[in-house]
Amino acid sequence: MFERRSKGPGDLMNLLETQGIQFPTVDAGLRNQAAVVNVHGTTVIAVKFAEGVLNVADRRATAGNAIFYEEAEKILKLDDETLIAIAGSYATASEAVRFLQHSFKYYARSQLQEMSLEGKLHEVSRVLGRALPGALQGIGGFLPIVSAFDREKSEGRIFFYDAMGARFESREFGAAGSGAERIRGAFEYVVRTKSPFRQMKLEEALREALLLLEIAASLDTATSGIRRLPSAKMVTAEGVQEVSEDLLRSLQRALLQE
């Protein structure tokens, strides 16, 4: 009757398995790729700034060489202190994010303690591992950048992953998606010629991130840049917050006039 049905205490994946709920829901056995309209999110950027981590992303989702949607949200809140920016298969990524949001809350509520940052990062790796069969078939891979505010170190932290789930930490910035590779050198240029991102104030870091996004758009057809208002969120000691639309619009106008 009241026997625990989940084998791993606080583990949502085990709970879902014991209840016969499939995750990931994209069928890894799906082989007719031509029949699949696989929507992709493109360029996402994370940079540190003095108070935490800033995430910026364009709003374009593509399917092959078609623009599928221009209002896609690629920066999502995992919990009140963690952001994830996603590039790649939108279906797999959004399902993974939904899983992670539930997983963190399930752990906290069932175990009566918050999941540690290390635990959350490992959970992202597990989810990527689960998505690997789809990624290998070219239908379901995605690459996340995780941004969090580390309360023990009192600083923002950025983590990026490979498709198999290996995790890396970045000292200054992270980027993923089709436009990311094209602007990687530009990040280094900013850090070496201006200042480390982590020393910048919000407005300065946001300006640099928007400019980098616009450069990515000029080099990558799948990235829409800043002509449409991009999305921007940050995570600081106060938790996850939206960047104010007024600030975003004023910098957007200034950059487009340059």
């Binding site: 009757m1 009241f2 625990r4 049905r5 989940s6 949502l12 709970l15 879902l16 209840q19 709920i21 995750f23 809140k77 919990d79 009140d80 939904r98 899983f99 949001q101 539930h102 809350k105 399930y106 906290a108 509520r109 069932s110 009566l112 938790g239």
Partner: protein, 243 residues
């Protein structure tokens, strides 16, 4: 087993549970403008828990039995929330679908020890008038309440608590609700009016051996998690004024 024996077994199980619940610390929950306030006094482990985005649970009884019910509710809510959506997780489904049949089955099984518990579930809604409270009995029976709910080990205690809470004419603010909840808890804890002491004095005596535990399930929240345990700094002003 004859029908007579079966009925006798159920009566004995009920007596066994009710005897153990008598000394349990009551739990009170009521709608406030800020959200749902749940309050009790505990001597040991925490007794008020978050179940899901808009759901909380508390109760009295054996800690291990409360824990079993809590875990089942959390498991059910999260599996449902993931498979469908957070909007599909409701107190009615958690209590009516997941818990009540399981409790009933366990209680009716003559070879099983019954769970010793009275559970109180709360669901916060956009308007206080829509908040829902469910009281769940050890045998799986449950009842729906609005505005407030009280769980106590003695029937007389529950009636005293409901009497205290029924004096509410409007939805109170949190600070006022804390005082009302403390008054109701004290009424439920010592319902026999053998003492002429004022309720504040009786509460003061109880708090020599216990600690007030209170949680708010927020009505409006920018954060994902609406549930928060009220800290000592939230409770101290009201407690120092009363006792």
């Amino acid at each position: 087993m004859t029908p007579y024996n079966w009925q006798q077994t159920l009566r004995q199980k009920a007596d066994y549970v009710e005897d153990r619940l008598k000394e349990g610390s009551p739990v009170v929950a009521l709608s406030t403008q800020e959200g749902i306030l749940i309050l009790t006094v505990r001597r040991g482990q925490p007794k008020i828990f978050e179940i899901y985005d808009r759901l909380a649970f508390s109760g009295l009884g054996n800690q291990s039995d409360l824990e079993a019910v809590r875990q089942l509710a959390v498991d059910f809510a999260h599996a449902e929330g993931f498979q469908r959506s957070a909007d599909d997780v409701s107190i009615q489904r958690v209590v009516g679908v997941a818990l009540s049949p399981a409790l009933k089955q366990g209680f009716s099984d003559p070879l099983r020890l019954p769970l010793v518990l009275l559970g109180l579930f709360a669901q916060v809604e956009p308007a206080p008038e829509e908040d829902l409270f469910y009281l769940v009995n050890y045998d799986g029976e449950f009842s729906l309440h609005q505005r407030y709910a009280a769980a106590a080990g003695r029937e007389s205690g529950r009636l005293e608590m409901e009497q205290a809470l029924s004096e509410l004419k409007r939805v109170p603010k949190l600070e006022a609700a804390l005082e009302i909840a403390l008054r109701a808890w004290t009424a439920g804890r010592s319902p026999v009016k053998e003492s002429s002491a004022r309720w504040e004095e009786r509460l003061s005596q109880e708090l020599q051996m216990g600690t007030v535990e209170a949680a708010l399930l927020k009505r409006d929240s920018q954060r994902d998690r609406r549930f928060c345990i009220l800290e000592e700094r939230d409770l101290k002003p009201i407690l120092s004024r009363i006792i």
